[in-house]
Subunit: 243 residues, 6 copies
């Protein structure tokens, strides 16, 4: 099975870190192909960034289709471009946010989300609302950190900020699990889980496992209406992206 | 006051029809500037189309900001790119869908939406859900017509299809007003209203009036968090669009 | 165009202040006729007050219909009597609360409401719930001030109370706009907006602009069912009010 | 225990029929005092009717307070004036609609409502929405009959209409109980229940039993905020009603 | 009329205290038969406890059916086993939680719940969600006390804990009534009500009154689908319980 | 990895069929241990059946904990006993219904459920409501078939009933995927998918894949509050079941 892990931003070294972490949780026999758009935004922290990244995600999925990919994982909290990707793809497309929230609901009655930076709270809210899981979300919190800070391999300050906000969430929200609201935090899961003694959910890896499962079950994206193939191919208008 | 009416698709003659209709309802002293993206999609009938059109809307708003526009109206049912546009704009940005739904709620207890083509039902549902107005929507219906058909100035077949679906809506949904779910249908409002004797709401013109009102009240888009200015300018990556 | 601005309470000098503010935002060609019931309550701070004021609003609309009014604005937070007014009126009827909430949703992702006095929180909640916009409302707050205090032209204490509560709302609710929950606060908008740097929405003037827009679009209140003309005229039972 | 059964319309002979039925289900030791407003509307079939009737209900409760009433039942589907009545009353106030819906939830997983005439559907929807029980309501239906028709003691046509609509509800809505959406239908309960073999709920009598229960438990209307005593007594403005 | 009050846990002396309190509020002519399962859990503080107690409730209702009981009251906050009991019973089955929440809605605009111990918050949330009354619940609180502590007749510490939490609820939640989230607290109602001057609702007694009312109205549990008689009798598998 | 697949009813040959199907989709290295309660109900078609089966599920999980099971899958539509199982288990517990609904949301915008027999519709509704996914469910349908009929290996009549109802769902509900609402239907997935050309989701196998994923991610059930270990061990009360 071949799963394409799409980092919707253009930062290649971030893609590589996601790749390593994803391959580590993948099943034997699953090949993770990690890619990022050729152009776009180095980081996704706004609706504008999302707009650029969505086209990049589409271009990546289009390339994936040409090479026989079985499923896709979109590695940005907010699930950038997932709906458009579902149109282009034949196989399943799993967003890291929806995968994280669903996983959280399977191991806990309620969860809190800790995302970053604060201006992206609206993106988390959108996914929560779209799934209807607001009543399971005990708190939606943000730490005042840029996405770049999630990319350092050894970022003690980020860890401390997450740990502190998580402790507030457990105490004030009475939540029973934590969802990390940014890609690239897989290394934080174990230390946080040990420090806090509650499930800590990282969405990229959760999405990898859900994508594997859907493929194994023979499920593909419904082409009946909302996610039918795009009515036209517009890639030639921006050949630098849709190479 | 200068309001930029953005047709998110690239069909210039459609922009012109919207322009004429909008100027006809604008207040004395309101100048309507109607534009469309230089590149993108000729029609918006899918998430993929929306992705292309969103970047086009952003480029148009960026140009509008440079020329001192007071407010923007986005003329696509589904409110393509409105969130990203709100980041780029200082003044208000009004989507035709939200304007239509709000107007409907002011003149009727419930309404039905008639959109097209059927695969875009999901886009109407998204705006309804985002505003929370599902309980006011008695029915969400689609006719099996392409957006292109809304662009003919004299399209009797489209009119008949709308009229027939509207009659079903009034009878089966017990709705009390109708929302036309596509731009470019302003000429249909009067004949439908006369035939059906209920309010028929067209969103582009509704949005023009709401935008005028917000400007007159001195309101601008909140820059506090969700719609703060974009964190970076990425336009140089696609200069053909962001000229 | 002639818009009747109905102050649902009986305090004439309050009507006059609303009139001046409304005429200042009205379009050229819009005549604002401001009236209040001949009998009723000097202030609306309870369900009982609402009951008296609703009949007064109906009487005023009935008079307006006789004199060819195009649209009505109801100037009480809680939208007193709007449903009954819609039955009596042919043209649109816009409540200041619904107009404020809709306007807020057009310029901000979330808003907080600051109303007064605390016992009227239930009236704000009712309108929020009726529109379905609870998820857009970051906080519903009240200051412990009587409606009378909103009527002083130079009320520094009220301003300070609003400013202080607004600062709490921005900080604690993470709201991105503020809705003033009482009529008669138009003069507060500019100073608050300057002090806080977020949109501050006053509903009476917002409703004037929405009413103008609906009339300009040729929309009238749906008479199909919920707001059909009243089944009987009962005005002769209380001739002092329905003169 | 003395419970005042308020018929919010002015039709005395209707009050008398309600009285007989209510006394028949009341506990030993409960005295039912049945009254109606001195002025107002002969029937409640619109928001305008509700406005008149609400003042009448307030006047009746005020009189009841003076004579030591323990609790009030409001006998109109739509719960006309219940909020205002709760301000005036010390003891509990129970609307027939809320009592019917709650009773239905206690004996069935879902219910359908059959109300009349069709224009009052919005009033039922308001109570459903206010309680949050929409998901328990399998269908909200109306028969095209005027309230007057519910007042005939031997009305075979009305019975047939209810029976026919009820059968549709059971079949099409898969509902498991029926709520009769109008006062004055107590005589219909037994024959419908025998014909249909599902619970049929009549709200006036249900409200009598709930009011008795609340009094017996020593519960009174909370005066803490929303239903605090009215801030002023305005009865002298319409002495013919508030005699 | 004979109402069986089922204490779902096995603590007989607790049953006796509930019995005394319930008989005190019952109507003349109502006989309260109080029982508890022969086997099961001494206290219900978890889903596991609920599982044991549900079978016990079913066994008790089965015995009640054999002896001609008219209605059942289930005396555990969380309404343990109510759905299964409704299948076995012909007459109405009322849970103390639903009765408490409904009663609260009849005397107050909003309420807070104080339950115990904290791990059972999820059970209260389930009933709230099932009825749809979340928007009426201003706060859901727990005190860190075991159910056993509710069984002492003279428990000053429990009273102090409730009083303190109630004061926080009134201040922080702005609630207008209080719901006691555990059976066996009937003696606390009067002192709390006097100390706090808001309605304090105890569910067991509320359920007794609702059950009496339903019986008096001739209502029985709908057997149409969800609560149809069980498809088989499995009691012989655990004869010690289903004796 | 060892996953215990619990058939909550007592029909051993049904367990075996589930086992075969589950092992077929399990990853290399996953051992499926399939069990059923020693006592209980042969089939789960009511709340009473659920009550018996819940204790059986608990007993099975308790046995699983003693033998070092990593995760559990509960194979009954309605997710019988999942909450109680989460208390007893250390590892994740996945219900087939939640797994099916989540999987459906990942491959389609909307889905319809086809369950059986009709009286169990309430159990599907409960899970939908608990997850908040009602707005994604285009239709909840039942066919009039007993669970036993799902157990025949070659059941053409059942297939025809499912196919016919599925066609109605696609046409009338405009759904984009189908969820099979009963365990034991894995063999139906391929033929239905080929006949209908939309995703058809079977929950038991979906749950197996989700459970595998959660274990691989190192996630276990949160023990913080709602699913903390049971406060007492009551198994000795029914030793025949908790052997």
């Amino acid at each position: 099975m071949r799963i394409q892990l799409i980092n919707p931003n253009t930062t290649r070294q971030f893609t590589e870190r996601l790749h390593v972490n994803a391959q580590a949780v993948a099943a034997a026999g699953t090949e993770i192909i990690a890619t990022q758009p050729r152009l776009g935004t180095p980081s996704i922290e706004s609706h504008s960034d999302e707009a650029w990244a969505t086209l990049g995600v589409m271009a990546q999925v289009q390339a994936g289709e040409a090479s026989g990919i079985d499923a896709y994982v979109i590695a940005c909290f907010g699930d950038t471009g997932v709906a458009a990707a579902r149109e282009v793809a034949r196989g399943p497309v799993v967003g890291m946010t929806e995968a994280a929230l669903m996983s959280a609901c399977l191991v806990a009655a309620t969860f809190s989300i800790i995302t970053l930076p604060p201006r992206t709270l609206i993106h988390s809210r959108r996914v929560l609302h779209d799934l209807g899981m607001q009543h399971r979300c005990a708190g939606l919190r943000a730490i005042d950190v840029l996405v770049d800070d999630c990319r350092e391999e050894d970022n003690q300050a980020l860890y401390e900020a997450l740990l502190s906000e998580a402790r507030s969430a457990l105490h004030e929200d009475r939540c029973e699990a934590l969802v990390l609201g940014c890609a690239g935090l897989a290394e934080m899961v174990d230390p946080l889980q040990q420090a806090l003694d509650v499930p800590v959910i990282e969405g990229v890896n959760a999405a990898i496992k859900m994508a594997e499962g859907l493929v194994r079950l023979g499920l593909t994206t419904s082409k009946r209406s909302s996610y039918a193939l795009p009515p036209r191919d517009l890639g030639q208008q921006w050949p630098e992206l849709f190479a």
